[in-house]
Symmetry: C2
Subunit: 293 residues, 2 copies
């Protein structure tokens, strides 16, 4: 299939590579930070504009940093929308605002094309290993059609519902991950300060109702003080911004998400924008003048 | 072995039953709310005071509601301490204050007896099935000696460290459980209010970094609106009180534990003291004028 891929950065580059390796013909943007040489060597076509990509390809995938960039790529001058004809498909795999996404989908569908939002989790490691978790918002017929393409990049691929709901699931995921990190931070800090060995406490708790993937992975990072990313605090902050601005727009109160975001800000204030998100525990340690380990 | 068992309520009754069934000789308190008939029929000896129990038995187990009751039973008039000789063992299986526990242990050890704190999780179901998780604070030689007794009542039995550390682990467990419930509540409420099916979102998230026992069990309760206990909010409030008063004494700040406790209080204000703790989501729903399902 002819696939346009806009955004071949840390995540997009290996993802596009998997598509090319499977025999798909890639169309990339020439003027964006120079496209990866291995994709050009593999036969990718370079285009001057996003509109040109949309005219040449059957399917356009976007993988860019934030909501304004998706909007610019899709609807800006010479954007994807201006090159779309009927019967094409746009998949936005960026992690962006779910509410804005619903609007983007409606505008693309009005042009006679299909839209899917398919944000991922699993990071650079998952992108390289083609083992990403992919949460999809799409019409069922669109999902059936794009699923074989998504399967080249990920493993756990779930249709959540209509367009926008993939992004909703991604935000929900990032809320839970942040708050579970916060939970493990408070618990291990309490245990350590009260005089117990946090490693023993973590071990004892893993079999019961307190068990979680975060206790397992991030709990260990807190105890071993290994805060190299992993997943960077500044990226998780971006996700919680989506949760909090979404909550405000929807008339919701998310008190612990707000609190977790403030703790991330405290990390950033201490130079931690690029620490792993498990380093949220450091913000609590600063408040307590005691370290978990 | 001759075992005194003080506190044969909802939890203690089946636990004492397992000990008796394994051939141990029980000593119970006559004046406490009448001891269970099946234990008397099974040959238990009734004693007038806790001191008399301590004189008669080699091992005394306490399973009572809170810190003041443990203190009263151990150190009050005609309490366990006044009947202890050298070489006996006290195991407190109640869930109480870890810092007070360190003091109780020191006082019992000063009398020449051994002390272990061994709080449990798993509730009435676990007590009846002898499948409780037991977190133990004890000297290693005491742990080795009491382990066969604990194995009659539970399955996951972990020595955390010195006396007091079993209670520390239990508080840490209850912090994580409460905050993971809060996390799942915020995430599912966001997802639902934004227009996605919370059941689909939960399903999609179960395979990734957001996965937890709470997402699995309590997330389902929130979606199915099944808030019969389970574990009662008023009991979880008692545990978070230990966390928060402990934190204050230790010079710690636990912002999200404090927030979760306030949400439990909001449930109680709406008649929910005996709702299952997963009903914490209702407090957030009240703030939002929207229900998860």
């Amino acid at each position: 299939m002819k696939i346009g891929f806009i955004g071949t950065g840390i995540m997009g580059r290996p993802m596009a590579g998997h598509l090319q390796a499977a025999g798909h013909e890639l169309f990339l943007l020439k003027r964006k930070s120079p496209p990866p040489q291995e994709l050009i060597d593999g036969g990718a076509t370079l285009c001057e504009t996003s509109a040109e990509i949309a005219r040449a390809a059957d399917l356009v995938i976007t993988m860019v940093p934030n909501t304004p960039e998706v909007e610019e790529v899709l609807f800006g001058p010479d954007g994807v929308a201006s090159g779309l004809g009927a019967g094409k498909t746009v998949i936005d795999m960026s992690s962006i605002d779910p509410i804005a996404t619903q609007g983007f989908a409606a505008r693309i569908e009005a042009l006679g094309s299909a839209y899917a939002d398919a944000p991922v989790s699993g990071g650079e490691v998952g992108a390289k290993a083609a083992s990403l978790t992919i949460m999809v918002g799409a019409r069922p017929e669109t999902f059936d059609r794009i699923k074989p393409i998504l399967e080249l990049m990920g493993k756990n691929i779930t249709l959540i519902g209509d367009p926008g709901s993939g992004q909703i699931a991604k935000v929900a995921n990032q809320i839970i991950v942040a708050l579970n990190i916060e939970a493990v931070s408070e618990a291990l800090l309490f245990a350590s300060r009260a005089g117990a060995d946090p490693a023993k406490v973590r071990e004892a708790l893993m079999g019961g109702f307190a068990s979680s993937r975060i206790l397992e992975v991030h709990g260990e990072r807190m105890i071993k003080r290994t805060f190299d990313p992993g997943f960077r605090i500044r990226l998780h902050q971006k996700d919680l911004d989506l949760a909090l601005s979404g909550a405000k727009a929807l008339g919701l109160s998310l008190p612990n998400t707000a609190s977790a975001q403030q703790l991330f800000s405290a990390c950033v204030a201490h130079g931690g924008a690029d620490w792993d998100h498990s380093a949220m525990v450091r913000a609590l340690e600063t408040l307590a003048d005691h370290q978990v380990a």
